[in-house]
């Protein structure tokens, strides 16, 4: 198990390889579709951004509301690819270094990760109650009007991650799945399955 802290530098990032399990402590910022769009629009309009993302990690999550006395409600990852149109700008221009979500990324994002020495982490989709327990502090720092889609600053301890796309552009999904695949993929091939009767 690799233990890392935020903010991330390239020394840390380059040691992490696709499929590695990682335990992260430190600060995460949350952000989903609406927050990404607003950040990009604000930057392109030349206005000041509400958060400094240099070296930081964004967690794609829209948590449940916190019960009284709790830090946050259940908080697992959402599907990352919806953020892909905004990600290259966040990494290149705003200095974002890590992302946490679930699912594949587009080739454009993989290319940016490689070029900029960034990293894409996965965490366990649907393990939201467990992940919420690793969040020790949560405060809204921007866009409260977005409700669960607001930008929160989270402080996490031992947050469980898997390296999804490493800084060489390798994918944990591709490498993991190829070891266990027994039949051809049918996607987009139009080809017939094996053992057809």
């Amino acid at each position: 198990m690799n233990r890392i802290k935020t903010p991330l530098d390239f020394e840390t990032i380059r040691k992490l390889k696709a499929g590695d399990q990682v335990s992260l402590s430190g600060v995460l910022f949350t952000g989903r579709d609406a927050a990404h769009k607003r950040l990009v629009d604000t930057y392109l309009a030349g206005q000041e951004l509400p958060v400094d993302l240099r070296g930081q990690v964004i967690y794609y999550v829209g948590p449940c509301p916190a019960k009284p006395g709790k830090v946050i409600g259940s908080a697992g990852p959402t599907t990352s690819i919806r953020m892909d149109p905004y990600t290259p700008l966040l990494v290149r221009e705003l200095g974002l270094r890590g992302m946490i979500g679930k699912g594949h990324r587009s080739q454009k994002v993989v290319d940016v990760i490689k070029e900029e020495g960034a990293i894409y982490f996965l965490t366990i989709g649907g393990a939201a109650a467990l992940l919420a327990q690793r969040i020790k502090k949560a405060e809204v720092v921007a866009y409260p009007e977005f409700g669960p889609e607001a930008i929160y600053r989270l402080e996490v301890e031992d947050f469980p991650l898997i390296v999804g796309v490493d800084s060489d552009g390798r994918s944990a999904y591709d490498e993991g799945q190829s070891k266990y695949r027994l039949i051809h993929s049918v996607v987009g091939s139009g080809e017939t399955l094996e053992n057809r009767r």
Binding site: G76, A129, P148, Q177, Y180, T192
Partner: protein, 280 residues
């Protein structure tokens, strides 16, 4: 005639929304135990272990299993001897959803218009399916459905000549395209036959069947097993990180169809296979 008051319906729906989002059935636990023992990948086993640990934690703390507490999909089986008293049935159900999602601190994920996209603030309206049955009971099932798996679902109007092979091919295409986005291990619900909308409802309804239970008709039961075998040969595995257990089960429901049609709907359910029911 049996009279059921809308107040009781509202209270029941409120309770079921919270119960469904925080606890999973015995069938789920048994199937997961089996999945852990069958998984060959170490990372896959770890993922299944975390998913189980999370479900245990949710049940003991009352926190939602997943933050996407979904759209509230509600199935009613309403006896034709039932009379609803005190108000409108649909209003009563939506009031129950409003209370359940508010009092249960569940996430509100419904927008009022698909293009304007403003959150309704209380997860209403529910999506309600009603079946009229014999008798004087009202059975209410609440099945919250998250977007990760729902967005990975699909429907295709096959040609009758495509037959069983065509059905298998389409289900496999949907499952492969869903990959990690649908939070595997998934449950695959298939609606076969009927027409466009009938097949979709059959697929959704099939997800309510207990895991591990086969279709009563032998040729459909066999097809379920065959598709499950193929899905678990894709290597997608738990969370898509590679492994044996991509699906926990495949459920197919069928309906008579037109001489020229072979509709197939595939509704993917993530591992958070949530539903709770009560009979009034």
């Amino acid at each position: 005639m049996k009279e059921i008051h809308v107040k009781d319906i509202t209270e029941t729906v409120e309770k079921l929304c919270i119960e469904a989002c925080t606890t999973l059935g015995n069938d789920w636990w048994q199937t997961m135990d089996k999945a852990v023992s069958q998984e060959e990948s170490t990372l896959g086993k770890d993922m299944l272990g975390i998913i189980r640990e999370n479900a245990k934690l949710a049940a003991s703390t009352g926190e939602p299993i997943c933050q996407d507490t979904g759209t509230a999909v509600i199935f009613l089986e309403m006896g034709q001897e039932v009379r609803i008293a005190g108000g409108n049935l649909y209003h009563a159900i939506n009031e129950g959803v409003h209370r359940g999602y508010t009092n249960g601190y569940l996430r509100k994920s419904v927008v009022s218009d698909p293009l304007i996209r403003k959150n309704t603030g209380d997860n209403t309206p529910a999506i309600i399916h009603v079946d009229i049955v014999s008798g004087s009971d009202l059975k209410i099932t609440v099945a919250p459905k998250g977007a990760g798996s729902e967005n990975s679902s699909g429907l295709k109007m096959l040609k009758p000549a495509d037959g069983e092979d065509g059905v298998i091919q389409f289900v496999m295409e949907v499952v492969e395209a869903a990959g990690p986005n649908a939070c595997p291990p998934v449950v695959v619900g298939v609606g076969l036959g009927g027409n466009l909308e009938k097949s979709a409802i059959l697929a959704k309804r099939s997800l309510l069947r207990p895991l591990g239970k086969r279709h009563p008709q032998p040729h459909i039961a066999k097809l379920e097993e065959e598709i499950l075998r193929r899905i678990n040969s894709t290597g997608i595995g738990p969370q898509g990180l590679g492994g044996r257990i991509t699906a926990l089960d495949v459920h197919i429901e069928t309906y008579p169809t037109h001489i020229a049609s072979l509709p197939v709907a595939v509704n993917i359910q993530c591992h958070a296979s949530r539903h709770a029911e009560a009979v009034l």
